[in-house]
Symmetry: none
Subunit: 309 residues, 5 copies
């Protein structure tokens, strides 16, 4: 684990957090191939819960095994591995000390889809401690009629987590009757989602890559009047990072379902060039053969490390 | 911090509160350029959460940075700075001791607008203590079907806050299916909103500036019969202050979105002349260049201080 | 309250404390005539409890009245006033916001003198909060067979105080069967007492002024071998401050029973010249006429402020 | 119940207490024949527990009946009746609302006498609430090696009582190996005992009538040097009242075992003339026939009321 | 941090511990220059509390500064830094993530020496969490009449620490009326001390280097009959390690006050050759100039790493 000047700079933004929480942030920032660079690549695997096992793993059957994902995160040199309770419990002893863990405290399945979705709390802060995790993870759905219950739940869980020196990662995914499909990734909505997570006290914020669309009329006027640059992906990433306390919170971006590798790598370049802190790459990692995944992750990390353009 | 005769007079109204709460009220009343005068100018910044970051800060990009607002409140000599958890956490260490803080314990975003709005609790009384705040802040929406849940929440939080010696600030904003847009700022409704906040045990009450409209028929009869003076702004401010225990609770007034400076200053004169205690000025402070904001706040404070007419 | 660069430097030493605790340290450091200078003069009045009322107040009967001491601290411009529960309760409402308070959580009377003394807990952390205090105070007696119970009590109280954002002041007074009378103020013992308080997590440490004696044989060898300078009072103060984390904890010094003013002022100069942070002056303040006390405190503050040699 | 200007003045001394506690103090001060005068005559009956029933009641057998004492307090027009749990439980329903009650929370029996006595907690704050008491009572023995445990117990009980709006009465009786028999009532010791009770947060302090003796050498020097007047009983009462925050705490005095009525009345005159707040008269009330007791109490109250010299 | 096969083997011994505790053991085993080797060199600095500041630091004055020790541990590449609350608090934010921390939960001062010593609890498990520590440390004195209170305290603290995923380090130092000075380091006593710590649930056990003496007659018979090899230091280390569950607990050894470097290095070789897990080196590290300390620690680590004989 290397605590570089850049890591110390990032830690300095979290002045209201305890040294315990800083230590766990330092673990996330210091581990893996990008350790110390201020960039992060995190492996998240909650699709088994969220989308169902066959949709998630049938294309690469070894991924049905919980140990596969720990191993993948270790071999690829990811900064952390994030998953729900069951998956973490299934490997935490065997892989103790090998990769920082983020315990996802809430999850949703898709056997029933609701217009205004919510999630169920499926693990506790105490679970995160007994399993040796560096952080808790939590998903909110701004735009859903259920959002306030989610904000209140993470508020309470974050307060508890911080009291015990854990870090807090919020997945901020706009969704629900307040938004249409395109609106979920509109630049104004992504920026707003990042701001909400920051206001709720997140240390690390995960949002989707924004499009150049603007969903809210009240926002459109401002973007146009102030000529906020949102044309290139890098522009939009830069804006979302700005929306998270002017870059003083760690913002990472998720990809979506599998696309071409070229598209994925272009996105990573956009994140890097826009000052994003990194990627959280699930389906594009574990839904292909391990060798292919390692190759893709290797390239992604090289991009973040500035080893390739 | 100056605890003048006027401050002691104001503190004497809060006979059921502990010395701890009086001490924190004295911090609010004693700090800044208006310290000791009994007037307050407070900087509130929750628009990032409530309206979204771009709508809030794109017109003055330095304001994306949480430290900007602490600095603005300090430089302008405001009595206090009020904000949600994330913003307060992002500066509380660096600016410890430099300006009294009010932690907003609930917030609402505007990705989804509901006819009968409510807010989510986004911070706790314990957070206020660990962050060194002098008061908690809380918004209620009288007129919404959700109002009673809000009243009950602030009741419990205020009880806890008072037990720990904190002060309680209630933003009382009529809204919801019980009112049309004009009704939200009608004089009878504003006075009623102030009364509800006072009845809920608020030490400081924040309402919107009232218009001369009367929204409730049952109220109209009384206003007309008793010839309650509501013609001038000063009249209406005087009436709202009267509605808050005949002036024995601190009532401050908020502006709205950016208007001309002349209009803002005219409002401040109306508040002063009507016996209002001060202003809470958000968007008109941080949505313009800092030098311009400092100039406006300087003029406002001079009006309250009686240094200019 | 002025939060100067020096105050910010001092606050930077307390990296494991919450912004709430820093805010309360800033209140102590920022209040009064020495506010912002990094020096403190504190008025402590626990002699009524510790020595009895007549011995404490008969020489200056107005001092029987609890309000007298609040008033004295305010008029003199002290940084803080420290006293047991009863005295604080008797003035906290009337003087709310006028001077930072330190609630002494334990006390001892002298109707019974024991060879290995202890103290009784006479107030709680919650009392400190409801009374609006900036800090708790606690006395330990290193050298007494009862010391460990005292260390354990303050450990628990300090943990609770810090969780609520209060500061912690420890009176570290060596006493008991491990020491003879001269040993209680020996330089090695005073330095050790400061170290123990620092290790127990004190933010502010109060010790007695050390003599040039060395009480412990094991220590004498080191002082002699390393030629630790302890000849002048300034040398000894410098050493005690060094013993408290090399000056990274606030160390203040107490006087004893009434001496000549010249001797008191010479001591203050020694504290200042040795890099001590200030004085806690009880009997020499309230056991003389108020005008005389104000004059003495004025001179003392001028010495610390560098206004007179 | 009359809340006179004098009562309001007395209540004003308790600025850190809640209105609930003030209300209960007002009940004590406002009830009975002396109600509103600022003087109190309280009937205490704990001798059955402390000295044994026959020693207490055999001389006036109706006093074996718990109802006797309620009835006596009501008929005599006492301000309050104070007793242990059992006695209060035995009459609280029947006499509900007829006389303010003080529940003694600790007691000692005399089947075993110890050099350093303590007491057992025999009732709780919750008991006081369910029994409708206005105050809790508690005995401390300054001078006993057990004193600190007693101080810590009443500290915790007083904190709880105040949180529930009860008043706190402390019986401060110096006793134990730190004192000889004469020392227990020496003027310096009585004054010190009053101070300790005040520092522990008592609202009402009960001490024994002091003699002109001085027990502590360190105190003697001061009494002599400052020429503290202690010759007459009134002088000594005045001094003890001064020792209790310069008269800003209610101090009442107890008699001892039965003496001549003339002596008792002379003592009452001394208390009155010295500015004492009243008497607590047990054995001289209930150890004589009721008619005689009523006559004596009538005379005492007339003295306090200024109706006779 | 490297989790090698050897580290995984060591972790496999702790089958009843949670993955959280294994993760923290992995942090200790994986950090620093010896990270992954299964050997540890730990820097402990509690002498300021235990022996007094001048005796501890006057020989190397920069060591008065709490940051010095963090820096030394980082520069030397130690596996961990162990210290009491005050020292850890004074550097935990600045050095967050740079070296695993062990919070010493109990301490003793030497202003009073008792024949049967104990220690005071000076920090809590919650402190360890908020400060980001990997383990708690605790000292027991087998042989003291106070030992059982110490065993019971660490039992409760260890239970709590394990519930939160922390590791437990026990300093097992025989001392007290059950032993003479020589007996404290007798081989039978050292082995017994290691066993007691293991039985109390320690993950890491720290003992003193044993001499060839046998202190207990009952033990002597067995050592002689079974011809337990205890002649060489390596023999004795091997025996102590055997006494700690046949090597299935991590046992590390402490040096004493400054000796010659040759002697220290010979001891390290003995520890290595006897299968000891490492050294905890306090006074020989921080009581010399930093450059000298780094040189000594470098040589020690090379011996453990097998880079020099």
């Amino acid at each position: 684990m290397s605590t570089t000047e850049r890591v110390r700079e990032i830690l300095s933004w979290y002045g209201s957090d305890s040294p315990g929480t800083l230590n766990n942030l330092a673990r996330l920032l210091g581990h893996g191939r990008l350790g110390g660079s201020g960039h992060l690549v995190i492996l998240p695997v909650d699709q088994g819960f969220e989308h169902g096992p066959a949709r998630s793993f049938a294309g690469n059957p070894p991924a049905y095994d919980p140990r596969y994902h720990f191993q993948l995160a270790v071999e690829a040199g990811c900064n952390a591995y994030a998953a729900p309770l069951g998956l973490i419990e299934a490997g935490a002893r065997e892989f103790a000390g090998q990769v920082p863990l983020i315990l996802k405290l809430n999850n949703k399945d898709s056997l029933l889809e609701e217009k205004d979705p919510t999630q169920a709390q499926t693990a506790s802060v105490k679970d995160a401690l007994r399993l040796g995790c560096a952080a808790i993870g939590f998903t909110i759905y701004p735009g859903s009629t259920e959002r306030f219950a989610m904000y209140e739940r993470i508020r309470a869980l974050a307060e508890e987590a911080k009291a015990y020196g854990l870090a807090v990662v919020i997945w901020s995914y706009p969704r629900g009757s307040g938004l249409d499909k395109a609106g979920e990734t509109a630049i104004d909505v992504c920026g707003y989602a990042a701001q909400i997570a920051a206001q709720l006290g997140a240390h690390v914020i995960k949002v989707k890559l924004p499009t150049a669309q603007i969903a809210q009329e009240a926002a459109r006027k401002v973007y146009e009047k102030e000529k906020v640059p949102i044309e290139s992906l890098a522009d939009r990433v830069r804006h979302v990072v700005q929306c998270a306390f002017n870059g003083r919170r760690i913002v990472i971006f998720s990809g979506g379902p599998s696309e071409t590798d070229d598209k994925i790598l272009a996105e990573v370049r956009g994140i890097r060039d826009g000052g994003g802190f990194g990627s959280i790459i699930g389906r594009n990692s574990f839904q292909r053969k391990k060798a292919d995944a390692l190759k893709l992750l290797d390239t992604i990390m090289k991009i973040y490390a500035g080893q390739i353009a």
